[in-house]
């Protein structure tokens, strides 16, 4: 087990990258704590898998170093890094039995037979395949195969880290919950550093202690689920986390007030002069429908999604999503919205600006 440090790391799939856009992974510096459960979250093509493959050593970065603990492993082979990785699509050795599949990583490392047998038994129990150990892996269903892949990833106890590359894509929804819970439990029990790549925010937020949000080859924010929700560091985080995402308005910020198209709203903090494109962001959960206070609003549609209702409206000349808690009526006389002042985030050129206490 080890702390993972990424130093000036960047990667391009082109041999001679010149422009910023040539890089699939832009320069980054991060330290990932030993024993942490991290989720790498981002939309497709944002560099999640590239980063994961660099950590596992399947890919050599164009620049920068990767450190496991104090040891520089940038040039080390995958096998030498002692990590485990589970892929998006099940990788099983078809001609082997389930037992041999699970034992394979241990056998290749020349472990003692009795130890292998006990580990295989323990893992089989965990993935619920004890009764099928002597079956050929060929012909099993996709989720059974993926469980074997997961099992093979976890069979070694001494790994530095376990990396998961969207491992639950092919698994049935009810099984997803179960496996995710098991992974979480396993993490608590053994304390492996786990890195879990996904584009599903629910998966990321439930699995990880810390979520790493990636956008366009950059890590835009690394934080707890709460931080991502309350203080998205980048407009992409605001948009990507939450359902629906954060409302963003073009605004002019002056001290502790923001001026929108034809209205002005109070902010929770005071801001100095801001250069660049200025926006304010407010979560739909913190927008309150009122009778006469705040911005005038036109309600377009109300969707009942069970736990709460979602109001699609229009304010200050653009679309606005509002989450209305269950039990509060949405009536025709609600013609204004107000924003909870200290939940408003201010962005300059998409990056969050920290305000001074007002």
């Amino acid at each position: 087990m080890a702390r993972i440090t990424l130093k000036n790391l960047a990667h391009s799939y082109y041999p001679n990258p010149t422009k910023d856009s040539d890089f699939a992974l832009k320069e980054m510096d991060h330290v990932w704590d030993d024993g942490g459960a991290y989720a790498l979250l981002g939309s497709s093509g944002c560099g999640k898998t590239t980063l994961l493959n660099i950590i596992s050593g399947l890919l050599r970065p164009s620049q920068g170093r990767v450190l496991f603990g104090d040891q520089d492993v940038t040039e080390a082979e995958t096998a030498a890094r002692n990590i485990a990785q589970v892929f998006q699509f099940p990788v099983v050795y078809d001609t082997m039995t389930v037992r041999d599949n699970l034992a394979f990583p241990l056998k290749n490392r020349g472990m003692d037979a009795a130890y292998i047998a006990s580990r295989v038994q323990a893992i089989a129990k965990m993935i619920g395949m004890e009764d099928r150990l002597d079956r050929k892996a060929k012909g099993l269903t996709a989720d059974a195969k993926q469980k074997i892949s997961l099992g093979r990833g976890m069979v070694r106890e001494d790994v530095n880290a376990i990396l998961f590359d969207e491992p639950l894509t092919v698994i049935d929804p009810h099984m997803k919950w179960e496996l995710r819970t098991q992974l979480k439990q396993l993490h608590r029990e053994f304390g492996h550093t786990m890195i879990y790549v996904t584009h599903d925010q629910t998966e990321a937020l439930t699995f990880a202690d810390k979520v790493v949000v990636m956008y366009d080859g950059r890590v835009v924010q690394m934080g707890t689920p709460e931080e991502l929700f309350e203080r998205p560091a980048h407009t992409f985080v605001g948009y990507f986390i939450g359902s629906p995402g954060m409302n963003l308005f073009e605004a002019k910020v002056d001290g502790n007030r923001a001026h929108l198209q034809g209205a002005s709203v109070p902010l929770g903090a005071a801001y100095g002069p801001i250069s660049g494109r200025t926006q304010i962001g407010i979560r739909p959960e913190y927008v309150v429908l009122t009778k006469d206070e705040g911005l005038p609003v036109t309600i377009r549609r109300v969707e009942d999604v069970g736990r709460h209702r979602l109001v699609r409206a229009e304010a200050a000349g653009q679309a606005l999503n509002i989450v209305v808690p269950e039990g509060m009526p949405v009536s025709a006389d609600l013609t204004h919205v107000s924003f909870v002042a200290d939940k408003i985030n201010v962005y300059a050129d998409d990056w969050r600006v920290e305000g001074r206490a007002a």
Binding site: V91, P105, N108
Partner: protein, 291 residues
């Protein structure tokens, strides 16, 4: 719904029936006819029953030809299949060099069979052939026209030259269809090169390899043109394989009865082996389906 019965519909299949009869059934029945009759020309036939079949089955000449045929097929399969796999494993996976390799590999397959024979016939000649003359010059006693072993080596090397690329191309196609994740997983599992071949590549290539073996079996078991051009079945009878013998019997000696009986049995043997292959392959597919 009530169905109208109209027997005239049979006329609609008549054209197909006529074409098939004309192109396949009647010629085949002609062979059967020759196989069970004796004829001295003038379209006069005398019933011979299974006499020709008995003669063929007990003929030592045919036993020898069959033995040579099986030996030949076994040798070329045991060279071409492993060699083809080996080449496929070492071919570039993408880019310009992979395209170049594919084109070069496909070339021998595009040369007409008798041209292949002619190329090797000349190539191996001791007086003017590049190979034969060079070997003679460095003191190797090589002459495919009077040494049976040299004739065999020439025919086998020629067949390997001609057909290994088919196996290699099929194996290459099989290898290309393996997702990268398998190799990555193997690296993480610290699998040896041999284990990667044994547990990933070989199982994934199994389907195409069976097709390769089947094609190479059928083709080599029916081989005629190339050895006929190079050695003419000689020296003596040493490279007289089944097809060459059949042609000698039917056209050289005009023994139409035995040749016809021979043809039928030859056909049945190939059919039988192909059927066995087909059964094995479909059974393996069934195993792969999920329960």
């Amino acid at each position: 719904m009530e169905k109208t019965v109209n027997q005239k519909a049979w006329f609609l299949v008549l054209p197909v029936l006529v074409i098939v009869a004309f192109s396949a059934i009647i010629p085949l029945m002609t062979v059967v006819n020759y196989a069970v009759n004796d004829t001295f020309g003038n379209n006069e036939f005398f019933w011979a029953g299974l006499e020709w079949f008995e003669e063929i089955v007990t003929s030592s000449r045919l036993h020898d030809a069959l033995g040579r045929q099986i030996l030949f097929t076994a040798i070329i399969l045991s060279i071409q299949i492993p060699l083809g796999i080996f080449i496929a494993l070492n071919m570039p996976k993408k880019g310009f060099w992979s395209s170049l390799c594919l084109v070069l590999m496909a070339l021998p397959l595009l040369i007409p069979f008798n041209v292949v024979g002619t190329i090797w016939q000349i190539f191996g000649r001791v007086d003017i052939g590049l190979l034969g003359h060079t070997l003679a010059a460095i003191g190797v006693d090589y002459n495919y026209t009077n040494d049976p072993l040299d004739a065999w080596i020439t025919v086998i090397v020629m067949d390997v030259w001609h057909w290994t690329s088919l196996v290699a191309l099929l194996a290459y196609a099989g290898l290309q269809s393996i997702p990268q994740a398998y190799y990555q997983a193997a690296r993480i599992d610290q699998a040896s090169r041999w284990a990667v071949f044994r547990y990933i590549e070989l199982p994934k290539m199994k389907g195409v390899l069976l097709i390769a073996i089947l094609l190479r079996f059928m083709d080599s078991f029916m081989i005629y043109t190339e050895p006929f051009v190079v050695t003419g079945g000689g020296p003596g009878n040493s490279t007289t394989f089944l097809s060459i013998d059949l042609v000698k019997m039917a056209i050289g000696q005009f023994d139409l009865g035995p040749a016809a009986a021979f043809s039928i049995m030859y056909f049945l043997v190939i059919l039988l082996v192909s059927w066995v292959f087909y059964t094995v392959m479909t059974n393996m597919d069934r195993e792969e389906e999920p329960r």
